[in-house]
């Protein structure tokens, strides 16, 4: 006897709701765990001073700067490349065997462990190009690392824009580029922002690849050729080398708050953008 739909609906909602609550509970527990252990250590001096005694004392200001600069440089390189390739694959070519191979290749590269990108960076950027352990080689390596993710999410976002919009724009005498610029891209922006957030998240949380390419110098970088240390690397070195758990959690707390701010800012910016366009 088939269960009447009303009950399957209730069962489904409780099941899905339960799963969501469990997920949120676990995720909130992790944030609370880190903040509870880390927040007491977060004082103004901790945020503004230089680290001393191998990180046991002092603050993490140069490390915060490193954490902002590195992903920014990676995004400045990966965003145009990623979105550009997604636009080309979606708008300018038909679904051929080549585009399927490219999409398959990007999927596989999204799965490559970051340590391999780190080694590639070490051999290629640090070694062959003589950029040394620096912001530049770190940024380039991270850019290549998040490129597959940005291409894939941008492509999904572009493909989600209804085909009819392209047809209408085309019928009004818009060139392919004008259709992309005026209708497709602005409409796909939310999906692209999600891809950027995931890419940014991966850059900020990366340790292995950064240690091998951007180095671990905790001083303030004066140029693109100076080595930097990101908060994730700082947390890794403090926690794993057993230098100081308390400072490690402090760094993690600051990192979480920074990521939360960036996410909220991007989210409100996107909403404002959508509201302005189609009020």
């Amino acid at each position: 006897m088939r269960v009447p739909p009303k009950y399957t609906q209730m069962a489904a909602i409780t099941l899905l709701g339960g799963a969501t609550l469990l997920t949120l509970a676990v995720l909130v527990f992790i944030i609370a765990f880190v903040l509870e252990k880390g927040l007491p250590g977060v004082t103004w001096t901790f945020l503004s001073a230089e680290p001393q005694d191998m990180g046991r004392a002092g603050g993490i200001f140069p490390i915060i700067v490193g954490t902002l600069l590195l992903p920014l440089l990676a995004l400045v390189i990966a965003l145009p490349l990623g979105v550009g390739s997604a636009v080309y694959l979606c708008e300018y070519t038909r679904e051929t065997r080549l585009t399927r191979v490219i999409r398959f290749g990007t999927d596989c590269l999204a799965g490559i462990p970051s340590i391999i990108f780190g080694l590639f960076g070490l051999v290629f950027f640090v070694g062959i190009l003589h950029l040394g352990w620096s912001l530049l080689s770190g940024g380039l390596t991270l850019a290549i690392m998040i490129l597959p993710t940005i291409i894939r999410t941008s492509e999904e976002a572009l493909r989600a824009v209804p085909y009819a919009y392209r047809e209408v724009s085309c019928s009004m005498g818009a060139t392919r580029w004008e259709t992309v610029r005026r209708v497709v891209l602005p409409n796909a922006l939310p999906g692209i922002v999600t891809g950027v957030m995931l890419g940014l998240g991966r850059c900020i949380s990366e340790t292995a690849a950064v240690i091998f390419t951007a180095g671990t110098v905790a001083a303030m970088p004066t140029s693109a050729f100076d080595s930097v240390r990101t908060m994730a690397v700082h947390f890794y070195l403090l926690a794993r080398e057993g230098i100081s758990n308390e400072k490690a959690y402090g760094t993690a707390a600051v990192l979480i708050l920074a990521v939360l701010l960036v996410n909220l800012a991007a989210y409100w910016m996107m909403h404002a953008f959508i509201r302005r366009r189609a009020r």
Partner: protein
């Protein structure tokens, strides 16, 4: 087949025009003239190729990968499918209204000025405002939306959205307007408004109206063409076609015996 009408008066001329999607032939040697500043109604059962013919005029079929054509299709005596003819420039002169109203995901104002803003020279703001008002008035939509031009086009009702699409085409100042079953989902009042707009626009534009509503063709079209299985069965003044058609198949379709 009667001799083609004097060429000077014809805005669009098709001569033995065929259209293929890969191996499937959608149109078989269509020879047809559309007179300047007149409304040509195209009727026929669904799948008879009337929409394909409409989309062939503004080369929208090019978006389909395996589409190629034979024969001649001219706009103002210049071959539309000639390699030198730039499809983008062509589409600027030919506006199209689709069966399902598709307002762009922008506000009403930006929907209407979308066409004129394309290309390098973007007209000044004042001129755009005037163009928007004139186009919306011509589409009988101005009074209903004049104080909420900045709300989203997707918020309007079906009939209003279709009139917005018409206004959008008018703002392009296109010489030819193609309509693909514009009133298929609309209420009688919106349909009447659109038909009234078309009759007044006849003076400045050449209009090709594809419709499966024979009464609408009878009401609005100056001349009517009857398509069946990708062929042009008969083309002549609406009055003659609906009373004493030459071809028995037209007679059966018009009187509703089959179709």
């Amino acid at each position: 087949m009667h001799a083609p009408l004097p060429t000077t008066d014809a805005k669009i001329t098709a001569h033995e025009f065929c259209l293929f999607f890969g191996k499937i032939q959608a149109l078989r040697n269509i020879t047809l003239d559309v007179r300047r500043n007149s409304i040509l109604g195209i009727i026929g059962p669904s799948g008879s190729g009337k929409t394909s013919f409409l989309r062939a005029i503004n080369r929208l079929n090019d978006l389909h990968p395996a589409c190629h054509t034979e024969g001649l299709l001219q706009l103002d005596q210049t071959d539309i499918y000639h390699p030198q003819c730039d499809p983008v420039a062509l589409r600027k002169r030919i506006g199209m209204v689709f069966a399902l109203p598709i307002p762009l995901p922008l506000n009403i104002y930006e929907n209407v000025v979308y066409g004129p803003r394309l290309g390098h020279h973007c007209p000044p703001r004042a001129e755009l405002d005037m163009l928007v008002e004139r186009s919306l008035r011509a589409a009988f939509l101005w009074d209903e939306v004049k104080d909420r031009l900045h709300t989203s086009g997707l918020r309007l009702s079906g009939g209003q959205q279709q009139r917005l699409c018409l206004a959008r085409v008018l703002a392009m100042q296109a010489e030819v307007i193609l309509l693909d079953e514009p009133c298929s989902g609309l209420d009688p009042i919106s349909t009447a408004k659109i038909e009234e707009a078309l009759t007044t626009l006849k003076a400045q534009h050449t209009i090709v109206l594809v419709t499966n509503n024979t009464k609408q063709a009878a009401r609005v079209a100056d001349e009517t063409a009857f398509f069946l299985m990708g062929e042009l069965v008969e083309h002549g003044p609406t009055q003659k076609l609906f009373t004493v058609p030459d071809d028995p198949r037209t007679n059966d379709y018009v009187t509703g015996r089959f179709g």
